[in-house]
Structure formats: structure tokens, C-alpha cells
């Protein structure tokens, strides 16, 4: 019970086509995530990465196809144990750090005492001790995203959806948070869909990388990342990392419309 290690859920996308009105954004996407797997998703801007992530969270409904979390179809509502970390943090500006982190617990009706205790543990884990009573606008971007991450972890998620979570941070803060995320995955496996514009980040984090392309988009290649796990930043110096980075880079870039 005191070991938070858990397997995460199996997430299946089968033949998922997403639409906005009559416009088709993704075309029959098939993906299957194993328990605890990290899948990086890359692709040009506007190819439907966010749309897909939102569908897994039950925020958008697929026009056709089905998404299942541990075999249960996602039908218009957020499945239990699916958490999301937003690019722009999505914190309540009128709530303190503590209240933001406790939010999923409060909403869930967790007993006050337990919620307080768990929140304290999370605050400590993301290194925000001393800032419990600060408001988001009093924090740096990095600290705001730590808060967002702690909030997402508060529910012991089976599935973590991350939409360019470090996209709004400066390079240095970004690296620090990358470290910490690797640490997190090393201690507790959570099935993760990680959307990023950074190819390095996709390779560093992913067990596999899905490259999306086209209008409507489909998965043009699903790449296995055979780098040792638990992942450490030292892998970035290996030839295999460089090879994968070049490979993904070529796939993503070949897909930009020539100017």
C-alpha cells in the first residue's frame, strides 16, 4: 500500500476519426498503449494531436471509431483515473497551490483529513513546500506546472495525458522538469500519452513514438525506442538517441508543405 507503483491502464484507439463539423481532422487512427507505456506523439501543428488527447479524456467524441480504457469505451465523459496536464497549466487563479492540488480530491469527495494529508505529500513531491498558500500568479511558470503535475497525480491516475506540458517554459526550467518526470515514471508506471513539439523530448520520454501526418492525419510511423529503462538523461549522448532523433526529424520535416 505504501508503494505507489501501479501498472496504469491499457488504452486502445481503434479506427478513431475526429471531426470539427464536417471537417475531418484525423483519419482512422489505430494505437494501442500497453500498461505503463509512454507514447510520444509528434506531428506538425494542426494535425490533430490535441484533438486526439481530448478524445481520450472524453472531452471530444470521435465521429467514428472507439477509444477504450482498460477495455471500457470512453463515451462522452471523462473515464475515472484519467488525468491531464495542460500546456498553459489550467490552474484556478483564485485557488492557492494547495487548493489547486487538492481540487480533484475535493471534487471526488475524499475526506478532508485524507485530502490534506495527500496534498501535503504531493506538494513535497513536486518541491513546492513553502508555497502552499501562494496563488498561481505569484509563481513562476515552472512552479505553476509543478502544481499542474501534482494535481494530475493526486488521483493516482491510470492514464496521464500531457499536451506540450513544458511548451510554455524556458529551456532551463524545461530540463529540470524533464528530469523530474523521468524520476516519476521510474517510481510509478503510468500509461502516458505525451504530445510534444520537441523531437528530443519525444525520444527521451517515449517507449514508442507515433508520428502523425496529413490532412486528415494518420499515423505514418510508429517507432520503437530501444533505449534502456528507467530512462536517464545520459541516453541523450548515445548514438542510438542521435539516430532516432534524425529519423523522427526527417519524418516530421518531410511533411511540412514546401514553401
Amino acid at each position: 500500500m505504501n508503494q505507489p507503483v501501479q501498472g496504469g491502464a491499457v488504452v486502445e484507439l481503434s479506427e478513431v476519426s475526429m471531426y470539427y463539423g464536417s471537417r475531418k481532422v484525423t483519419d482512422a487512427i489505430n494505437l494501442e498503449l500497453r500498461r505503463g507505456e509512454v507514447l510520444s506523439i509528434v506531428g506538425p501543428s494542426g494535425c490533430g494531436k490535441t484533438t486526439l488527447l481530448r478524445a481520450v479524456a472524453g472531452l471530444n467524441r470521435p465521429g467514428s471509431g472507439e477509444i477504450r480504457v482498460d477495455g471500457v469505451p470512453v463515451a462522452g465523459a471523462a473515464p475515472e483515473g484519467v488525468s491531464m496536464v495542460f500546456q498553459h497549466f489550467g490552474l484556478f487563479p483564485w485557488k492557492t497551490v494547495e487548493a489547486n492540488i487538492a481540487y480533484p480530491l475535493v471534487v471526488r469527495g475524499v475526506r478532508k483529513k485524507d485530502a490534506v494529508e495527500q496534498t501535503r505529500r504531493l506538494v513535497e513531491m513536486v518541491g513546492l513546500s513553502g508555497f502552499e498558500n501562494s496563488y498561481p500568479h505569484q509563481l513562476s511558470g515552472g512552479m505553476q506546472q509543478r502544481t499542474g503535475l501534482a494535481r494530475a497525480l493526486a488521483v493516482n491516475p491510470r492514464v496521464l495525458l500531457m499536451d506540450e506540458p513544458f511548451g510554455a517554459l524556458d529551456a532551463q526550467t524545461r530540463e529540470v522538469l524533464q528530469f523530474e518526470l523521468l524520476d516519476l515514471w521510474a517510481t510509478s508506471a503510468v500509461t502516458t500519452l505525451f504530445v510534444t513539439h520537441s523531437i528530443e523530448e519525444a525520444v527521451l520520454f517515449g517507449d514508442r513514438i507515433a508520428v502523425l501526418r496529413g490532412q486528415p492525419s494518420s499515423v505514418v510511423e510508429l517507432i520503437d525506442v530501444n533505449l534502456p529503462k528507467p530512462r536517464e538523461r545520459s541516453v541523450m549522448a548515445t548514438p542510438e538517441f542521435a539516430r532516432l532523433r534524425e529519423h523522427v526529424w526527417n519524418l516530421v520535416m518531410s511533411n511540412e508543405v514546401p514553401a
Binding site: 472531452l59 471534487v107 496563488y135
Partner: protein
Amino acid sequence: MTQNHSSAARARRYFASGPGHPVVLGAVGLGIGLVVWQIAGSAEPVLLSTPGRAWNAFIELVVSGKLFTALGESGVIFLIGLAIAIVVGVGYGILVTRARLLREGTQWLVYALQAVPMVAVAPIVLIVMGFGVGAKSFVVFASAVFPILINTMEGARHAPPELLDTAHIFRSSERRIWRDLLIPHTVPYAMTGIRQGIAMAFVGTLVAEFFLNATGIGGLMLSASSRFDISTVLALTVLSAVIAVSLMGLGRLLESRFSSWRGEEGR
């Protein structure tokens, strides 16, 4: 360039404290007004009173106790009407943004009703509802509710989508969405509406009191003016203006208080 800069700064400092301060300017304006009024009133004593006579009329109202009775009567309908306008305006304003059918079904009505001048329909309302406190409070309510409702709708409509997503992902109930998101987000907008609503409620109070069974400050004003007691009318007018200005100040204070989390240092 530097020269310009420092002289601009000096000018700003000058206006910030010295004779340019708003309170000082206001007092000077008031003083000039009183002098002009006194001179004009002395020249045309039948149509215009003077500040001196208005002051005497005011003292008389205080001494006879009439003023306090009237203030009490006005205060009751003002507060009842305003309170209901706040509850209905904020509640319905948020509700309508959450329920598409309700919004599309009633939005045109809100905008149409808003344009109806209260002075014109108040007699009808009073005839239909009787001339009691209820009917008068209703006139106050109807005067004040629209700015509150419209500002609240505007605020609730712009609730941050990312926060709504957050609420849905963590499977929040609708009740908690109101509590965690819609109400705190909307309060600063609603306060702007409430500030305007306070002013409208004040006008509504006088309007409600002007017809038939005249009561309160409005009633005093009405009976004085039918007796051609210009001094009393003027005294009451000035009193109304003072009350109105204080209420506006109170409204502004409330407004800035309730948007404090936006500020530099939160609460």
C-alpha cells in the same frame, strides 16, 4: 527629452496632491455652485430657493422626524429590490450560459425588457401589483436587475475553457463547477453589474415612490413640489445626490474588493 520627462513628472505630482486633487476640485466646484445658487435664488425668490433656505427646510425635516421615517421607507424597498435583483441577476446570468435552450429561448426577451423605460411602466406595475412594499420593491428590482444580469452573462460566457476542461476531466459535478469555477470567475463581472445596479435601484426607488401612494424620500419630494415648497425639494434633491454618490462609492469599493485575486498579491 529628459526635460520633458521631469516636467511631466512634476505636473503629475502637482495634480496628485495639491489643488488638483479630485476632492479639492470637487469642493471648489461645489462652493462656486452654492454661491451662484445663492445669488440666483435671491434674484428670483419665487422659482428658485437659496442654499440657506434649503438648509432650513432640511433641518425642519430632521427635527420633525419626517426625514428618518422617509429614509426608512425608501431604504426597505431599496434593499429588498436590490437583494432580489442580485440573487436573480447573478443566478440566472450563470444558469443561462450553462443551458443552451434556456439561453436561446430567453436572451431576446432579456434584451427587449432591458430597453423598456421603468418610469413609463412603473404606474402599470403598481396598479397591477398594488401599492404596497411588494410592488415598490418590484419596481426597484426591475430597475436594477438588467445591468447585473447582463454583466454576469458576459462574465460567465467567458469562463476559461481550460478550466472547464479541468473540471470535466476530474469529473466534477455541476454544483461544484458553479462553486469552483463559474461563481469565482463571474463575481468580478457581476460586481461591475451590481455597482451599476445600485445606481439603477436608487433611481427605481424614487420612481416607485412617485406614484399615487407616495412614500419615502420620493414621496416627501412629491408632496413638497405639489405645495411649491421649492426649498424642501432642493434640500431633498441634494440629499439624494449625496446618497447616490455614497452608494456609488460603496459599489466601487465592493467591485475592487471582489476582484482582489487578480491583483499583485492575492488575499
